[in-house]
Amino acid sequence: MKTVVYVSPFVPQEWIAAHGLQPSRVLLEHTKRVAIAQPAAGVCPFARAFIAFGLSLTDESAIVATTECDQMRRAAELLAGESSAPLFLLNVPTTWQTTTAHRLYISELERLSAFMVRLGGKAPTKEELTDVMLRYDALRAEIRGARGSLSGRAYSEAISRFHREGAADLSAARAAPLARGVPLALLGGPLTGEHFRIFDLIEEAGGQVVLDGTETGERTLPRAFERRRLHEDPFPELADAYFGTIPDAFRRPNSQLYHWLKGETARRGIRGIILRRYLWCDTWHAEVQRMKEWSPAPVLDLDVGDDDCESRAASRIQSFVGMLR
């Protein structure tokens, strides 16, 4: 069975699985170097890691890239000419409040379906899609339900593993000790595998991530499917759950992100926000000052470069948590 790899939360796992292919929202390694002509300064490390990852693939896999940001769109373009794996570029609209934007997203999923059929997949019937959606919805509910009993890192890793492998094996996650520290939200773009260390750094400093608002974490879990709509017609419900409810900084306007964050901050008693952003990521960078002005809780701006040097991040986190305590 061919694996379809992607990094965006706007690619529905269920849609790929229902076509009989293996979905895998991969966790990149940011320290991998790009073998071809290296982009000049200004390329975000995550986009570079994505290029490196795409180049390492064979035609056993296929890539679904997306257009949420200019950098990833252009990374996809570089890969299209260089990677051995077939590539599909899914146009994720930036606007979201109009019916035309919703329709565009739906038509893009239909185009993705045609791509997957060309890969050897089979377009699902309504019943097949419903079954797959119910299965994934149940797994997500299981993971969500375990949140209170897992450490911040274990919870986020469990989500990431679910996205990667489509499974919700929480036994290992439950074994991790629970920390009790200053409740914090971690916010920003996607994490790479190495970056899960940030949860440890926060705990070592006396904090605790009670809300993972990174792209890798719970922020990008779609809402639970509405059963009635699901049984009427699963495809529009799938599109609506993904396109309509995942808050993100790239959306225009991105008021949905602030609305979501306001609710979660109050619900979880969050006392500080760590906004982690990649260098050259304009989308999150531009939110730093706005978030500081908006948030009642203090905000720490943590920029991440190509290096995996954690001493700088550790000292900032220590200072931040120390201040909150």
């Binding site: 000049a40 252009r74 606007t95 225009r252 990521c281 000052q289």
Partner: protein, 465 residues
């Protein structure tokens, strides 16, 4: 005709202006010396070289008085719409309305250069968290806050989607500060799948019919917004007339470009050509006057070409310029180093192509919007650059990277590779900050090297197999 065409300093213009007046030069109401703009803060003019024609003077005066025009429009009861991240689509719609003036707030990116940072716009952007990691268009944020460079528009419309991250993030920041924005989606232009209907776009591109239909729907939404804003209907007839007027500007520019870029002797300097081309985007807030300004400039250029007169040396190397430059002085510098501009791609090449007039107007505008080089792939853009480089007979390509711009980091590589492999001519990529004085020697070395290399290649006509 003025005296022999040449580039002159601001100081030389002072005296030249008096002579032209004495010789009977007639000027529009916004006319006057260039010096007065320096006194109003446009300090960069002190170090630039200008064309010495009265047509060029009119062009400069037209450009540098846009703020006055906007304020007069407001006083006269006209409504002002700011069309952001839009290089030539919504302004055409807005100018089809009788009581609306459209302008381009993104154009504020040149203010820090023109005013030599004296206006403090970057400082304001910094304080809003939009620091120098972003493209110089961040100056626009400061301009909104100070209200010193343009009146705050009554309506803001901004495209989003396949645009650059910098501008999208900056516009969102503006929105977050309380400025309402009507967003419209421009999708990434893609090659039609085999089973999709294909639509040809201006500029030689193509897109699937479904994408054109999507953009048309988005523009229809904006039509409704504009109608409500203006309080008058924007019917197809008015739109077609608006397209015809926009095409008049585009045709004038097309002739100007053809003449200037292909003439044996360069009839007009790069700076004046840059400003003239910029008029295609938003007409400098006065569409009718834009046509008059361009007509006069074209007359001047025609006369020079017929008289075999030029502003640069006959052996100047023909350079194709990619991307708008943050510091205007660098256009002068290329000419000082022995180059001349023969072809440009300032990221709005679609705004220089005629809008199809044989189609329903909204369909035509949708096709034109999708032909924007920013929304397509860098490979598409590179293909057009190669085609235009060939068309204008350029001997080298210069890619001017915009500091901080999200698209420049990878795009330059793709364009450079395409030019090297298809045209086998030298390509140089430089990065130009809004004030380049401190790196001028470095830039000069690179530009001189490009000119030397191109001249050497003229002798040998030999590139490796």
């Amino acid at each position: 005709m003025n005296d022999y065409p040449r580039r002159i300093t601001l100081q030389e213009w002072d005296a030249h202006y008096v002579q032209l007046r004495e010789a009977g030069m007639r000027e529009p109401p916004y006319g006057g010396t260039l010096r007065r703009h320096v006194e109003e803060g446009d300090l960069r003019l002190r170090t630039l070289l200008f064309d010495n024609s009265s047509a060029a003077l009119r062009l400069w005066n037209f450009l540098l008085t846009e703020e006055d025009r906007l304020r007069e429009a407001r006083t006269a009861g006209k409504k002002i719409v700011g069309t952001m991240k839009d290089l030539g689509t919504v302004p055409v719609m807005a100018y089809a309305l009788p009581n609306v003036v459209a302008f381009y707030p993104d154009g504020a990116w040149w203010i820090p250069c023109v005013m030599e940072l004296s206006e403090g716009l970057f400082g304001i952007a910094d304080s809003l968290g939009i620091d120098e990691a972003f493209c110089p268009v961040r100056a626009m944020l400061g301009a909104f806050i100070t209200e010193a460079h343009f009146p705050v528009p009554d309506l803001l419309i901004c495209s989003a989607g396949a645009t650059c991250d910098d501008f999208s993030a900056i516009a969102q920041r503006l929105n977050g500060l309380g400025y309402p924005i009507v967003w419209w989606e421009i999708p990434h232009r893609r090659i039609p799948d085999p089973d999709e209907e294909r639509v040809e776009l201006p500029g030689g591109f193509a897109a699937p019919a479904s994408q054109v239909a999507f953009v048309r729907e988005e523009l229809e939404r904006l039509r409704t917004v504009l109608e409500q804003f203006a309080g008058v209907p924007l019917n197809d007839g008015a739109l077609s007339a608006g397209i015809a007027r926009a095409n008049e500007v585009r045709r004038l520019l097309a002739e100007l470009r053809q003449l200037t870029f292909t003439a044996e002797l360069c009839p007009l300097p790069a700076l004046e050509m840059l400003i003239a081309e910029m008029l295609a985007i938003h007409f400098c807030s006065d569409q009718a006057e834009t046509i008059e300004v361009l007509r006069e400039l074209l007359r001047e250029v025609r006369g020079r070409v017929e008289a075999r007169q030029g502003v640069l040396e006959a052996d100047a190397v023909r350079v194709f310029w990619v991307n708008p430059v943050a510091d205007l002085q660098v256009m002068n510098l290329l000419e000082d180093c022995g180059g001349r501009i023969c072809g440009t791609e300032y990221l709005f090449s679609h705004a220089l192509d005629e809008i199809p007039e044989n189609l329903p107007p909204m369909e035509a505008l949708a096709r034109m919007a999708l032909a924007d080089p920013m929304v397509g792939s860098a490979a598409d853009r590179a293909a057009r650059i190669c085609a235009d480089t060939r068309r204008f007979g350029a001997e080298a390509v210069l890619i001017s990277r915009i500091p901080g711009a999200s698209h420049c980091a990878t795009e330059g590589i793709i364009i450079a590779e395409a030019v090297r492999s298809r045209l086998r001519i030298p390509v140089l990529e430089i990065e130009v900050p809004p004030l380049s004085d401190s790196i001028k020697p470095m830039l000069r070395t690179r530009l001189e090297a490009l000119i030397e290399t191109s001249k050497e290649l003229r002798k040998t006509c030999c590139v490796p197999e």
